[in-house]
Amino acid sequence: MKAPSDSVAPKTAAEAGEILARCDRAGEKVSIVGGATLRGMGFPPERSDINLSTKRLSGVVANEQADLTVAARAGTPIQSLTALLSTQGQFIPFDAPRPQYATVGGTLAAGWLGPRRHLYGRLRDYLIGSTIVLADGTIARAGGMVVKNVSGYDMSRFYVGSFGTLGIIVQANFKTVPLPKHARLFLARLPERTRARVCAQLQTLPMRPAAAFWIDGFHKAVDGDDGAEGRVAVLLEGSEMLLERATRELRSALGRAGVPETRVLDAGARESFQRVVDAYVACLGERSVTYRIASLPHSCEPNAQRANELARRFEMRAETIVDVLNGDIIVRVSDLDARALGAKIEAFDDALHEIEPRAQVIASDHPNRIYLRVWGESPPAIAQMQALKARFDPNRTLNPGRFVGGI
């Protein structure tokens, strides 16, 4: 792995296009850098001659408050966009870790899947238009500023989750939705014997919470009392009247499942929720690896237990965040130090993929990370994906090798 020799930060799409076209002809490899918050996701590029940063491609370019639409350039930090929208009573459920650094472009490119998606939908479903710069310098637009649009292929959605391997997203247009007026966070101890019942109760609540987690470990990262027994955190959002009713229903559901008592947080509820999301990608120096295992909601509880047991068999510490409503399992395995982890992690990775073929590494600063199956098993349509890469970036100029299947 060679250190990048050069850094550039274009100010316009046209400049980015010129840089890419030049690199593409010269055979130089370009790494795209947004907020660098997800640098532990995916493989590092095979080679990188130029780091192209989106930090100067920043700012909101259109904000049609009455239309509930907004357009931002790629390097805009999520937090600043979210802050602007909240002054207008609107939001987009980015739910990205470390939103003060994470960028609009990077969050889209990473296809980040936030915990509130079961209620508000995926980030990709808020994207109504985009501008992208391809490896050969082509600047192409898709969609527009209208909320419904069936005019040819939905290229904007297609770029979401492409990890900077198809092109640089330089601008994204979104629709927004009204920001729920109130938020409330519930915290409770979660005795091990109640887990399965709690998950089932949370999944069948008539008033769906915005997010619900069962959390083991991750102390300091997450509010609430820590302990071997773990805890449950539930975010409710909506009008005041709705929260009152949801609170009653949630209390009695948790009571039925055997959860003794709950603590309610009104001030700072969303901030506490954000800290849970931040924990998804928080590394313990070089001595941890964090996986995301996508499950279905009804099987996330047993699957999380299974992954934890496996880590215990390897004598590693396992910490877990289970997103009960979407079925995502986040498991951070760690050891005493980087060396101890390094001695086991590859064998653990093999064993984990035996039971969870699609487990992905989403965060690690350990040097052996690159030997892990960071994308899990290849998806069934990998051949089509490789062909798309070849058609969009035939010289493999952009983020080569960073993505699944060598893309």
Binding site: A142, F158, V177, P380
Partner: protein, 461 residues
């Protein structure tokens, strides 16, 4: 040769080549044009795959077809070829109640799906007005919308994964949970040009506990469209926010007696669904806004029967125009929601200049206009006037920052208008996706891409 091979693969009952049979498959709800060389009705993914391989061997293009309710000539065999009707593949394959998802075949009617899962307290959200007569496969291929897409989003938001037969007859599957590129997103809305959808995993939603429908009437279209903008700008997103003008109100009342006030110049049909508390709060807020904007009539439907009556008028509106003129053409454009008043004035002006009766019934909350231009097919002047009016409306939507189709698609009708909203470079990028899935341009040729566009990079294999 082609016919014999198709019969060998599917049986004679599933292959049609008689001229009178072929004629039935030469049109959709927009137009007719071209004759297929054969129509096949496969019953399984394997049969679809076999058909595609045979057609490919014989050099025939392939046109996927659902119910043929498309409004842009998408399923019309303009270049001939083999029509693959998915109508016999109409079953629910797997219902996963615990995870609220379902796998269906493409020929299933949209409304049949919601009907079949209703006893479980679930429904499928995308509800094109054609939902009784259009298929899930056609909905996916056009990324269909509908009145309730205002809050639930269009079809693409509800597709979890697809099984697709590609141009070579090979089957591949996609899932939005897979690592890698979001092929599902690329395929939804691709109008049969990237592959044939043979099954789909769809997301189901829980039926809301409370639903209320309101009607507000206004003295003018301007006032009504400003009320729409005000509702959205106030941060209220009802589940549906539909608008009708006097022409439509008159036609609907004559046909159905839906209970609309007949003296109104414009009418808003608003639905809010969710929890009792929220619905009640919406009622208060929406009522206040429409009053501020001069609504002189307000009606609230509480019972299912009352709600259905109000909706019946909306859903049957297009059919009801038969009393005004024998034919109608639906234009479909979408503008930024705050531009609705200007867009509607442009529609009115275009119709007046061309002496065409226009009826507006549309998804106002999304800024998605559907002017129905009424005419008599046998009168050449009227036909020309409708075409001209449609074009003017399209142009004015573009000028207002809008798009050339909100939900019906591009198909054959609007392919040349693509250059009005996209540059050659933009279109060439879409062409790169096509190169991967359909390099020989045999899947629904002459659709979406402008007639002049030839992708120079294409190298036939």
């Amino acid at each position: 040769m082609l016919r014999e091979r198709l019969i060998a693969a599917l049986g004679s009952d599933a292959v049609k080549t008689e001229p009178e049979d072929l004629a039935v498959y030469s049109f959709d709800a927009y137009t007719d044009g071209g004759r297929p060389v054969a129509v096949v009705l496969p019953k399984s993914t394997q049969e679809v795959s076999a058909v595609v391989k045979i057609a490919r061997d014989c050099g025939e293009p392939i046109v996927a077809r659902g119910a043929g309710t498309g409004l842009c000539g998408g399923a019309v065999p303009t270049a001939g070829g083999v029509i693959v009707s998915l109508m016999r593949m109409n079953r629910i394959l797997e219902l996963d109640l615990r995870n609220r998802r379902v796998r269906v075949q493409p020929g299933l009617m949209n409304l049949d799906l919601s009907r079949q899962v209703a006893p479980e307290g679930l429904f499928y959200a995308p509800d094109p007005s054609s939902q009784q007569i259009s298929t899930i496969g056609g909905n996916i291929a056009t990324n269909a919308g509908g009145p309730h897409c205002l809050s639930y989003g269009t079809t693409v938001n509800h597709v979890l994964g697809l099984e697709v037969v590609d141009d070579a007859g090979e089957v591949f599957v996609t899932s939005i949970e897979d690592a890698g590129y979001d092929l599902t997103a690329a395929l939804v809305g691709s109008e049969g040009t990237l592959g044939l959808v043979t099954s789909a995993w769809l997301r189901l939603l829980a039926l809301p506990e409370a639903v209320r429908v309101w009607v507000a009437a206004f003295d003018g279209m301007d006032a009504a469209s400003e009320a729409v903008s005000a509702i959205i700008a106030a941060g209220i997103v009802p589940t549906a926010l539909e608008m009708m003008d006097a022409v439509i109100i008159g036609a609907v009342e004559a046909a159905f007696h839906a209970g609309y006030p007949t003296d109104a110049a414009a009418l808003l049909l608003v639905e809010s669904a969710g929890f009792e508390e929220d619905v009640a709060a919406s009622e208060e807020a929406i009522h206040a806004i429409v009053k501020q904007h001069g609504a002189h009539y307000w009606k609230s439907a509480h019972t299912l029967a009352e709600r259905n009556a109000l909706w019946a008028g909306r859903k049957g509106a297009a059919g009801a125009t038969g009393r005004i003129a024998p034919n109608y053409y639906t234009q479909d454009v979408c503008v930024p929601r705050s531009k609705l008043p200007q867009a509607l004035r442009a529609v009115e002006a275009a119709a007046r200049i061309n002496r065409i009766t226009v009826g507006n019934v549309f998804h106002a909350g999304d800024g998605n206009l559907h002017p129905l231009l009424m005419y008599d097919k046998s009168d050449a002047r009227q036909v020309a006037a409708v075409v001209e009016t449609g074009n003017v409306i399209l142009e004015s939507a573009i000028e207002l920052g809008g798009t050339i189709s909100g939900e019906h698609g591009i198909g054959w009708e609007k392919r040349d208008a693509m250059t009005r909203v996209y540059s050659t470079a933009d279109l060439a990028v879409m062409g790169r996706v096509r190169d991967v899935f359909d390099p020989r341009r045999m899947l629904n040729p002459e659709k979406i891409f402008p007639s002049g566009a030839r992708c120079p990079e294409v190298t036939p294999p």
